[in-house]
């Protein structure tokens, strides 16, 4: 279980995150949603101490994250980046195995684990192991990013708009694949997105942010049926409108 307790981060006079209280259950898939600049990426970065809080605390299974060395903490938590962040000078296998290398695992042990991870994200190991990231498509690169984040067997995965840069069919396919991995490995996942449709389709719960604060936390259904205020209602409008338009197209005359 991850607990955010009165968590805040200010940059000078500006509060990027302004007093957040939130519990994320073990095995839960939580989506942090909101518009650009709402503080969702900062909130995510506060969990593995890529950013240190100005106030409040993050507890993982009841332990304050500040009691663990930041580097050690980050090795226990998987992180997938929006811009993918593969190391361009390392092969796919080297990228996926980097956390294991940092942990001092043997070369043979790393190779076995890399095979497993590539298979898990549906990249044929014999074909992709030794190529450099520059030779991959966007979707393939992000599969490698996910494999890298999973290699050290983390219990918690943090994903910062992981599918944002991909074309829609690839994005949907990858999102569905990841959701399956989440179930299979029993992960706790916190995923940041500004795409409400994606949030609705992926998350067990959605935490909607605005200007550094939580506006509403609930299941996708709760957010649609009982929005807390006009802002939430407005945010829900877009996916609903798109769904209606698609339904009309399907039902209507050709």
């Amino acid at each position: 279980m991850i607990e955010l307790c009165d968590l805040a981060k200010t940059y000078g006079p500006v509060a990027a995150v302004d007093g957040i209280n939130l519990q994320i259950g073990t095995g839960e898939f939580l989506v942090l949603a909101g518009q650009s600049g709402s503080g969702k990426t900062t909130t995510l970065s506060l969990i593995n101490r890529l950013v240190e809080p100005s106030r409040g605390a993050v507890l993982i299974d009841g332990v304050d994250t500040r009691e663990t060395d930041a580097v050690v903490l980050r090795r226990q938590i998987g992180f997938v980046f929006q811009d993918i962040g593969l190391f361009p000078h390392m092969t796919v296998a080297e990228n996926v195995g980097i956390t294991l290398k940092l942990a001092g695992r043997t070369r043979a042990g790393i190779a076995v684990r890399v095979e497993e991870m590539l298979t898990l994200v549906r990249l044929a190991p014999e074909r992709y192991r030794d190529v450099f990231p520059a030779a991959l498509s966007g979707g393939q690169r992000q599969r490698v990013g996910v494999a890298r984040a999973l290699a050290a067997s983390p219990r918690v995965m943090l994903m910062d708009e992981p599918f944002g840069a991909l074309d829609p069919p690839t994005r949907d396919e990858l999102a569905a694949d990841y959701r399956r991995i989440h179930e299979r490995l029993g992960l706790t996942t916190v995923l940041v997105t500004h795409d409400m449709t994606e949030a609705m389709l992926l998350g067990d719960r959605i935490a909607l942010m605005r200007e550094g604060r939580l506006v509403q936390v609930g299941s996708p259904r709760e957010l649609i049926t009982s929005p807390a205020d006009d802002f939430v209602r407005a945010m829900m409008e877009s996916p609903k409108r798109r769904a209606r338009a698609l339904a009309e197209l399907q039902a209507g005359p050709a």
Binding site: N48, R74, F81, G85, F87, P88, I98, T99, L102, R148
Partner: protein, 527 residues
């Protein structure tokens, strides 16, 4: 053309020695420069203040003319060596390899520093964030991500530095370090343009080859192509090995080091000494073109073993004497002073003087009724004088100024080759000349008398380092040179090197002198 072919083959005969030292010097300087610059750049990255200080310092070094930078390290190291000898009992050679190495290493720093900082600061922020995100420490981030990603830019900096260092290393010749610059400096002095060209081309080829291999390594890093990097590394290794091989073959025992100053007479006498020592079974090398104070200190320190100096130079520069007791007294007192204060052995005078003299075109002297320095002083404010790079700062010149109160309209400095042309063409009215110079007669110049005895005598003398002074065979090999060369013979020998046509190399002229001294009766000009 056959003379040129001879010069080319003479040039090739030195290539192993010169190229070897050039490669060793450049490679060592680059290794030190990179070893210092890389960590420095890492420390400076991210701190505006440190980066400014480091780049500013390296930039200032770059603005110092390279020749001056090399020259400055000699007194610096000499002082340091005196200090360590006094404090720890261990001194080191202040001439030759060390000053050249220190100056070139400093010179290599700016491009490496600048490119390393730029390379590290140019690393994609996404890669750095990812490195942090996967749990790398600061050190792992630097070694596993930042440096590898900056490597092509860093290597580009090393490439620039390597080309600079290989080019600038030619300037280490005047501080006594053998390099491809020996061709250029010797060629410039003796107007052997084949030598000058040979030195330039050899240095340029070396720089180009190293540059191409480094470029290949850079491309290999950019394209992550291991074969390219391997070929480049192999190529560089072959270049270094080929350059250093002749050097390694030649260092089994320390040869005699013969010093020469930077003019033709010195090269001829250096070659003559070399001939005699080789004939006596010594292996000898020459350190050509040393400055006149550098060469004396080097002899006292045992960095060179033998050279020819002039009694008046020691008298004025080293003994700080201003009195003029006469030629033989100066010789005797100088010999005693050298032995007592430095342990230097003066074997004896060669038999001629190379004195400072002032010379005019005979027709011009006659027209102005100038026969002596006293006559000259009266008309000097309307006249122009040309001198070499040293004369106007030397005590002899101050003595002349004091004795005659001369003050000229203008003073100009020339490389000694061009002095005679300047007076012959009328660019200047009077020049500082050297009495043993064959061109005085060739150009029909009149040497002005010195009625007040302002100028000291300048007997050419053979000086031997304290260590070699005890070597009886060494002294015996050189003894026959004492009082063996009169002024007219030296003037003719010098003219063969200085004249415009059918020039001879110092080695050829020396061989002629040697043959003459050995009593075979061959005149030098018939050689």
């Amino acid at each position: 053309m056959s003379a040129d072919a001879g010069a080319v083959s003479a040039a090739f005969s030195h290539l192993g020695d010169y190229l070897g030292w050039h490669v060793l010097l450049s490679l060592s300087a680059m290794l030190i420069g990179v070893t210092v610059s890389l960590p420095l750049a890492v420390i400076c990255t991210g701190s505006r203040l440190l980066r400014g200080a480091a780049l500013g310092f390296a930039g200032i070094i770059q603005t110092i003319p390279s020749l001056a930078l090399l020259a400055l390290f000699y007194p610096l190291l000499l002082g340091l060596s005196a200090f360590t000898r006094a404090t720890f009992g261990i001194g080191f050679r202040a001439l030759g390899f060390l000053p050249a190495l220190a100056a070139l290493a400093l010179y290599s720093m700016l491009p490496v520093l600048r490119n390393t900082i730029a390379g590290l600061e140019g690393v994609d922020p996404a890669a750095k964030r990812a490195a942090q995100g996967v749990g790398m420490t600061r050190r792992q981030m630097l070694l596993l991500v930042e440096l590898p990603l900056a490597a092509p830019v860093i290597l580009a900096g090393i490439r620039i530095a390597a080309v600079w260092v290989i080019g600038t290393a030619t300037l280490s010749t005047p501080v006594g370090q053998t390099s491809l610059g020996n061709y250029i400096f010797a060629g410039l002095q003796t107007e052997n343009w084949v030598f000058v060209l040979f030195g330039c081309v050899a240095a340029a080829i070396l720089a180009l080859v190293v540059d191409r291999f480094l470029a290949l390594a850079e491309a290999g890093l950019v394209r992550r192509s291991r074969p390219r990097i391997a070929v480049a590394a192999l190529g560089l290794a072959v270049v270094f090995a080929a350059g250093l091989l002749p050097l390694a073959a030649g260092v089994e025992r320390r040869p005699v080091v013969i010093g020469t100053k930077n003019f033709e007479e010195q090269y001829i006498l250096g070659a003559l000494i070399e001939d005699r020592l080789r004939a006596a079974g010594y292996s000898a090398v020459r350190r050509d073109g040393l400055g006149s104070t550098v060469i004396f200190d080097a002899l006292a320190a045992g960095e060179i073993d033998v050279y020819v100096d002039y009694s008046g130079t020691v008298w004025a520069d080293d003994m700080k004497r201003r009195d003029r007791p006469g030629r033989e007294t100066v010789l005797a007192q100088m010999t005693e002073w050298l032995r007592r204060t430095h342990g230097i052995r003066c074997i004896g005078p060669l038999g001629f003087e190379n004195a400072y003299a002032f010379a005019m075109r005979s027709d011009r002297a006659a027209a102005l009724h100038i026969h002596s320095l006293a006559d000259l002083a009266a008309q000097a404010p309307r006249l122009r004088i040309g001198g070499d790079y040293e004369i106007f700062t030397r005590p002899e010149w101050r003595a002349v100024e004091r004795a005659y109160g001369v003050r000229f309209e203008t003073e100009r400095q020339y490389q000694s080759n061009f002095l005679y042309r300047a007076v012959a063409s009328g660019d200047v009215d009077v020049i500082s000349a050297y009495s043993s110079d064959g061109r005085i007669a060739q150009y029909g110049l009149k040497v002005l008398a010195d009625p007040r005895g302002a100028l000291p005598p300048y007997d050419a003398v053979l000086l031997v380092s304290p260590a070699r002074a005890r070597d009886a065979n060494f002294i015996a090999a050189l003894k026959p040179l004492v009082r063996a060369i009169d002024l007219a013979r030296m003037q003719r020998a010098n003219l063969m090197a200085d004249r415009e046509t059918s020039k001879r190399s110092p080695e050829e002229i020396a061989a002629g002198l040697d043959a003459y001294i050995a009593g075979r009766g061959l005149q030098p000009e018939q050689k």
